[in-house]
């Protein structure tokens, strides 16, 4: 997030898109709902599904899945044509606005309505609300990113914030909600193929150098492979060994048949985890590790706040913390690591990671600190980009609407979109072993619009077969108005109806994120 969670309570207007916030970030949704119900903040919701927040929305833009660039460009078209731009911000803080204006020219509300299904008048209303409110915040999640043009979707939101100057101040910003407890930290720590800790580029000798000095070895200068490409390489036999620490690709990755083929081809698959799961079933070595309740360390949350994790109970059996397991393997391969505790590791992180330099255990004993925090006197940074952007001036990128990789046809007439639900979490290895959570949602389901259900002869609770070009699953029908006609939704938590057997492994060329939010399926009553 460019801004902070608490900051949301100061917003006058929200543009919320691609996040089912009340289910997936419930506590953040309370800040938004309070602002709307108690302070009269406006809420623009752009979401294909009739989610809980629609009840709180001032305007609800219900677009067809996979048309985000079109409606965002449409908002900017209205803003330009009605003169609602923030000329001062554009002049002082940005460049390339003319190219953007030229691009959005054709995205008139009427043109956008044809692509997205959003009524032209609603689009105009939303554009005016967002542009003219004193402080407007964009909040998004994977409904924006999990598309073959996910990068363009995010750039378009950035364009929108800059053209109106709704960034760098309290209550504004472009705020991605991160879905996992430490996805922010895993990125910050360099668990990405192109970047070292603090996003230092592996291809830049000068950026590699401090790490080579600290670690006492030359480092590879060629960017590595992302997860989808590692799996492709495994299938083709060029990657032969895979180490997995606390991930479950046999549930979480698209096109599971392909994932299975890839994992089976490996010479060695090593998995560190806390439960046997769909991926350990293919492992050559399984190493028992510990969960959050059993170890010390830190997580970095969605607002870049680094907070302590503390050991509350003993680890089970012979399980070891993941850092201990890594130290053992590294030692066996000749590395001279001497970490005796997570604090030792954080001391090293402080030295080599400029944005974490001032975030020591002593300082975060009582309350977390938000990076960047360059030294131990620095209070942390609640709002990014308040005086300048990382590259100096904000660059308007030109993005055009492109259709999803797979569109509906006669054989596969429904758009399938996937996601999470309130009562489960990711591949459900933890949440389906929690009594209370299981009691709320024991089984997988597919949301079907009542009109579609009637046509297909499906009633509430019927078992239906859902198939795509890649596979088929059987799941029970939840007939409701949550999905529009022609769209169905299935959560990805359930192994017995693993929706990622159906999803498309087409990826965004820049971020390599798979298009989980759109693929074509057929739905029929099970015989």
């Amino acid at each position: 997030m460019t801004n902070s969670i608490a900051d949301l309570e100061q917003s006058d207007c929200f543009l919320i898109t691609g996040t089912n916030t009340t289910e997936n970030h419930p506590v953040i949704s309370t800040f938004i709902k309070r602002a709307v119900t108690q302070r009269g903040a406006k809420l623009i919701l752009a979401d294909p599904r009739n989610i809980e927040l629609a009840k709180f929305a001032t305007v609800w833009l219900r677009h067809k899945p996979g048309t985000d660039v079109a409606w965002i460009n449409g908002l900017m078209n209205v803003i330009v044509s009605e003169g609602l731009l923030n000329e001062k911000f554009i002049a002082e803080r940005t460049e390339n606005v003319e190219a953007l204006k030229e691009t959005v020219k054709k995205y008139t509300p009427e043109y956008v309505e044809k692509i997205t299904g959003i009524p032209a008048e609603d689009l105009k209303k939303a554009a005016r609300l967002y542009a003219t409110s004193p402080a407007s915040a964009i909040v998004y999640a994977m409904g924006i990113t999990q598309h073959i043009n996910g990068t363009d979707n995010v750039k378009s939101l950035a364009n929108l914030s800059m053209i109106t100057g709704q960034i760098g101040r309290p209550g504004t910003g472009v705020n991605p909600l991160r879905g996992q407890n430490n996805v922010q930290g895993a990125c910050d720590m360099g668990c990405l193929p192109g970047t070292l800790p603090a996003y230092k580029k592996v291809v830049e000798a000068a950026e590699r150098k401090p790490f080579e000095d600290a670690w006492g070895t030359a480092l590879p200068d060629k960017p590595g492979l992302t997860i989808p490409k590692i799996l492709d390489a495994a299938e083709h036999g060029t990657v032969k060994a895979l180490m997995i620490m606390g991930e479950n690709p046999m549930m979480s990755d698209p096109d599971l048949d392909h994932v299975e083929k890839a994992l089976k081809k490996l010479d060695v698959l090593v998995v560190q985890d806390i439960f046997p799961n769909e991926t350990t079933a293919f492992a050559h070595v399984v190493l028992p590790s510990t969960g959050w309740a059993e170890k010390d360390g830190t997580f970095s949350n969605t607002e870049r706040r680094v907070q302590r994790v503390r050991k509350a109970v003993q680890k089970p059996g012979e399980a070891l913390d993941d850092w201990q397991i890594l130290s053992l393997i590294a030692g066996k391969l000749g590395a001279n690591w001497n970490y005796t505790s997570p604090k030792d590791i954080m001391d090293e992180i402080n030295k080599v990671t400029p944005s974490y330099a001032g975030i020591t255990y002593d300082r975060i004993e009582k309350a977390g600190i938000q990076w960047p925090c360059p030294n131990t006197e620095h209070p942390g940074t609640p709002i990014l980009h308040s005086a300048a952007f990382t590259r100096g001036k904000g660059l308007f990128s030109v993005c055009e609407h492109i259709p999803p990789a797979e569109e509906t046809d006669k054989k596969f007439p429904f758009v399938l979109t996937t996601g999470r639900i309130l009562y489960q979490y990711h591949t459900a290895t933890m949440s389906r072993r929690s009594k209370g959570l299981v009691s709320r949602t024991p089984d997988a389901f597919i949301e079907v619009n009542p009109a579609d259900a009637e046509k297909l002869g499906i009633t509430q609770g019927d078992m239906v077969d859902v198939s795509s070009r890649r596979g088929s699953i059987r799941v029970s029908a939840e007939v409701s108005n949550k999905c529009d006609k022609g769209v169905v939704f299935i959560p990805f938590h359930y192994t017995e109806a693993a929706v990622n057997k159906l999803t498309n492994k087409a990826i965004d060329p820049v971020a390599n994120i798979p298009e989980y939010k759109v693929c074509a399926v057929n739905v029929r009553k099970a015989k």
Partner: protein, 351 residues
């Protein structure tokens, strides 16, 4: 602006209540239906004070401070009224502290004790109400409810879930979901905000019942392991086991200010699930067989070493985890880059 409380001159700013000014200046006024995150209603009358020139006693939690006001918090008249208010609260329901999970952590119990009410003055009421315990998360014991309304207001003002409300009048007044539905059959999403805020033992974490309370529990402050909000919570531990997860009732820290969702508050029991992996395993003849750490680590190191030798470091790759700590993620990429020699490291950020 200045007012006087028990003879102490207290400065205040426009909009502060008498209770807030007293608290800031170290003058103790007990409250029951009041909470710092919720709009005051002055319902329970426990916080009454005497104000010079005012006709009646005044609920300090809801009374805006005024310049020149002279307030007494501890006069005989105040104590008598406060005691009566608590005695009346006691008549409603059945307040059995012996088995109550909130014993030692209960606002009503503290009030009764500090006011020296050794025998309830008014008679015990009608027969006991049945406990609502059909769901796996929350037990509702309406015998202990004092109708302070904090659960209703927390549900509507803090979480904005709009599930709980008041119903009935006089002796039949109650709080709960619409139409007398149970939590389970209502729109309740089991965030547990009402449990956190309940000042008595009427709303209780079900899984923690009879497993330890108050002084028996060690509270370990940590960060929730589910989504990316990073809620701060206290794991309540007794005899090496998690009894429940709670958040501070007052002065709760950012980013969640004491709020959680069902997963954070009630989704911890997987930790002690018997299916947990407890021993290293190596696949032998198609099956995973238990091994020692030494065997497993040697096996991994040998495989990685020989693959690196034969096919180069880029034939090795690693998936790190958004579930693991910063320290572990740091070491994971350091391992792949500095020990193996490849940048083939990624994690589930996209998934």
């Amino acid at each position: 602006m200045v007012l006087t409380i028990d003879g102490i001159k207290c400065e205040f700013t426009q909009g502060q209540t008498v209770y807030e000014v007293a608290k800031e200046n170290g003058v103790y006024i007990p409250v029951l239906c009041h909470h710092e995150q919720i709009k005051p209603v002055g319902a329970c009358r426990v916080c009454v004070v005497e104000v010079e020139k005012a006709r009646s006693l005044i609920a300090s939690c809801a009374m805006p401070a005024e310049d020149g006001m002279i307030v007494y918090t501890n006069t005989e008249r105040v104590l008598k009224a406060r005691k009566l208010a608590v005695e009346l609260l006691l008549t409603q329901g059945h307040h059995n502290c012996i088995t109550c999970e909130s014993s030692g952590n209960c606002v009503l119990q503290d009030l009764v004790y500090s006011l020296g009410i050794d025998t309830p003055r008014f008679n015990e009421p009608e027969k006991l109400k049945e406990l609502e315990q059909a769901n796996e998360m929350i037990v509702r014991d309406m015998n202990k409810c004092v109708l302070c309304g904090l659960c209703v207001r927390a549900c509507n003002e803090v979480q904005v879930n709009q599930v709980l409300d008041y119903a009935g009048r006089g002796p039949t007044a109650s709080v709960g979901p619409a139409f007398g539905l149970t939590y389970e059959n209502s729109d309740c999403v089991f965030c547990g905000e009402c449990v956190r805020i309940c000042p008595v033992g009427a709303l209780i974490e079900k899984q923690g019942r009879f497993k330890g309370r108050g002084k028996d529990l060690e509270l370990v402050r940590t960060t929730c392991g589910y989504c990316g909000v990073g809620c701060q919570m206290d794991v309540n531990v007794k005899d090496g086991k998690i009894v429940k997860v709670t958040t501070p009732r007052e002065d709760a820290p950012a980013p969640n200010n004491g709020s959680l969702c069902i997963k954070g508050r009630f989704g911890y029991d997987f930790v002690s699930n018997p299916e947990r992996l407890t021993k290293p395993m190596i696949r032998v003849g198609g099956e995973l067989k238990e091994a020692t750490w030494d065997e497993a680590i040697s096996y991994v190191a040998e495989k990685l070493g020989s693959i690196k030798k034969q096919s180069g470091p880029d034939a090795i790759a690693g998936f790190s985890s958004a579930r693991c700590t910063n320290e572990e993620n740091y070491l994971f990429q350091k391992f792949l880059r500095a020990v193996v020699g490849t940048n083939n490291v990624d994690h589930c950020a996209r998934l």
